[in-house]
Amino acid sequence: MEKDTPPKCNIIFYIRRFDPEHDEAPWVQQFTVQVERGMTILDGLHQIKETQDSSLAWRFSCRMGVCGSCAMLINGKPTLACNTQILEVTNQTITLAPLPNFAIIKDLVPDLEPLFEKHRYIHPYIKRKDLEEMANPTGEYFQTPQELEKYLQFTYCIKCGACIAACPTMATDRDYLGPTALAQAYRYNTDSRDDGFKARKDMVDVSHGVFNCHYAGECSRVCPKGVDPARAIQLMKRNLVLDYLKLKRHKKPAHALKSSERVEQKPKVSAPPFTVKS
């Protein structure tokens, strides 16, 4: 008895190629891929590389939507190749191109250095004044679930660069900080353990900074992890304006819990006896 095999169909892939050693400008190459239900764009690319053209280059790693390596333009929308099922976006053709607003290294590989540079620029780490405690911790920093909720959404960023590719300001403005850096600046400012609002304020309140976002909303629309950078940026503008109008309440950063202050711990559960006599 023949096992039920899923039906296959032929999908045409139009892929933008560019080889820095031979080409002056990108060009489009056509491939035909046998696709069955459940195959992702990443699977299609592997099939092309293994059976048709081994020179095709693109980035990938986890193949499950958590590393952010495989972001590319799929049918005009920047998204992850591993997360996108071929038959969900087309039944005839797919157009693949590298992420726009980044320089191309080769084929579908963008140069993400500007993304990381701008991310580093906003000091994406907890900034505090108690350096002794940070170097030699005596306890955890106390944070309630409500305080966590305020910034948790923005911690899911995987730095894939799709938001920067979709942003209209990034299309023309090389110096714009971009949704990734700005959303992460807000994530750290809002973390109750952080005391770096004053420092980051001066980093984002610059020409080509946060006020060059005009809420086109494309970054949030394409984000593969639901981070909603547009929301973070608008909330950060609110903070900056309230701070300018001297209406912002500045909270002290979270304190380290001394062992005497610890909240009531669950009673120790006694382990069952060993089943194997030593």
């Binding site: 959404q153 299309a171 023309t172 494309e218 949030s220 608008q234 909330l235 609110r238 304006v241």
Partner: protein, 145 residues
């Protein structure tokens, strides 16, 4: 990362016009820019034209005669419609950019809902009011003809 040649893949100004398949808010952003620049250019001329009133009724009426030309009449309606859109969309943007219409941070659970979903009712209301104003303006225009 070495001296490998890079190809600059920035979209440029066409990225303002055609970066791919977009949501409504992206198009509203573009129209907002166009209407803003248009109103500014109109305003430059308007300052000079309306200051003619200090020269008395004769000069004023002569100027108004000139402005009866159909080109100016059409321009007037275009400016009115542009203003209606820019003002109402601007109101929406003020609410959004002051963090009043984007909602609170919430744990992303697939299918993701973003601030775009939160502000969508506001956007719909704003567009409806804008259309009503444009209808009122065009109707009033023909009333006066």
């Amino acid at each position: 990362m070495g001296n490998v040649k890079r190809y600059d893949n920035r979209l440029g100004i066409t990225g303002w016009l055609s970066g791919g398949r977009w949501g409504v808010e992206r198009y509203l952003y573009f129209i907002h820019r166009i209407t803003g620049v248009g109103i500014l250019l109109f305003f430059m001329m308007h300052i000079f034209e309306s200051s003619l009133r200090v020269f008395g009724p004769a000069t004023w009426n002569a100027a108004m005669e000139t402005l009866e030309h159909p080109l100016f009449k059409v321009g007037e309606i275009v400016v009115f419609c542009g203003f209606a859109f820019h003002a109402l969309n601007g109101l929406r943007l003020i609410l959004i950019e002051l963090g009043l219409a984007v909602g609170k941070a919430e744990e992303p659970i697939y299918p993701y809902r973003s601030s775009l979903n939160t502000q969508r009712p506001l956007m719909v209301v704003v567009m409806i009011v804008c259309s009503l104003l444009i209808v009122a303006g065009v109707y009033d225009f023909f009333l006066g003809q």
